[in-house]
Symmetry: C2
């Protein structure tokens, strides 16, 4: 790894870096669209090649392989989601509201961003290299941790009264994961209603017992 000298060399070194970044982005953008539209397996490298207008070799120059390209897209999507959520989160005061806001955003994001379908196809595919398995595990842990933190905050603020936080974090993720699969068979409004109802049930399910 070389660091360009900031005075003279910068523009020159950047020309390559910029080119790489630009190409990577072009590939990623085309791939994202195709994966979302056709699914993971049904999208051939050849399709991406045509869409980008570059060679197949170039894709393998910038990404390890098809799996690596797809994982890159998923990780990009996750960081983007986190970034946006950090802004939205501030709009809600209670954790209960945050959870409602979260599923609302999640539902909108998934409904507008059909990479979910390809992701489910990818995650549920049985044949996976160990390094891929590992990157998926990290992602799943991330989702559950996200839930855990939210739930913990709700406990701290005395909105819920659960003890098994990790367990409930998985329950919540399961609910949302299953729902995202069912929502494929629904209209938009129906799907949004289902997400809200799911959160109703979950929140009542972890609510403090009324005395």
């Amino acid at each position: 790894m070389q660091i360009p000298r900031s005075e003279s060399g910068e523009a020159c070194v950047n020309k390559k870096k910029q080119q790489t970044e630009q190409t990577k982005k072009k590939i990623a953008d085309a791939a994202r669209g195709l994966f979302a539209q056709k699914g993971y397996k049904a999208t051939a490298i050849e399709d991406i090649v045509k869409a980008v207008g570059c060679s197949a070799g170039n894709i393998y120059y910038h990404f390890k392989n098809k799996e690596g390209l797809f994982l890159h897209l998923l990780e990009e999507w996750n960081t983007e989601w986190d970034r946006n959520w950090l802004v939205k989160e501030k709009l809600y005061l209670t954790i209960t509201d945050k959870l409602y806001g979260m599923v609302e955003y999640l539902a909108h994001d998934q409904l507008n961003h059909p990479l979910t379908r390809a992701a489910d196809e990818f995650f549920n595919n049985a044949e996976k290299a160990p390094d891929v398995e590992e990157r998926i595990n990290v992602m799943v842990k991330g989702y559950i941790d996200f839930n855990r933190q939210l739930l913990q905050k709700g406990i701290d603020s005395h909105e819920f009264e659960i003890t098994n936080v990790s367990g409930h974090a998985i329950i919540l993720d399961s609910l949302l994961l299953g729902l995202s699969q069912h929502c494929r068979r629904m209209e938009r409004d129906e799907a949004l209603a289902a997400y809200r109802l799911a959160m109703d049930v979950f929140l009542q399910g972890i609510a403090k017992p009324k005395h």
Copy 2:
């Protein structure tokens, strides 16, 4: 379709019918094991051929194609499940207990019967012929109807007090669907605990508000 004359011809006609049934069963059994072990896509017809000891053509003589064979296994599994549940159900008096019993049985069945994994792979695969899509839709509707009926009974017996029965039926199925996917990353005991906790949350989530 010819009906064998019961007196003289029976044994003769049955010889073919029996052979067909026997072969179909042999293929189904071998395929079930392989799909469960290796997943849907990773199981080649060739593998099944080797396991059964018959020709590839024979499989296509008895089943329309690979998808048809797999769907046959799923439908077989479902009817078996229903048949067993009908017996078990009687052990539980309240609907609440029935629901706990149901997830318990579901969890055991899925943990012992790893066809679930292949099923998820199959269901989540993007490329499906229209007739396959249809058979899957029928199955999914069946799962939701099953939940709906249980919930309706719980309403009739005044155990719950929900109005949107169909919606809750989907929520319950989502929860169980998502959970079955998470449980792949768990130990057996952990998975069983997760199923129970899920039902705790769901039941409290639809419980009558205490006055």
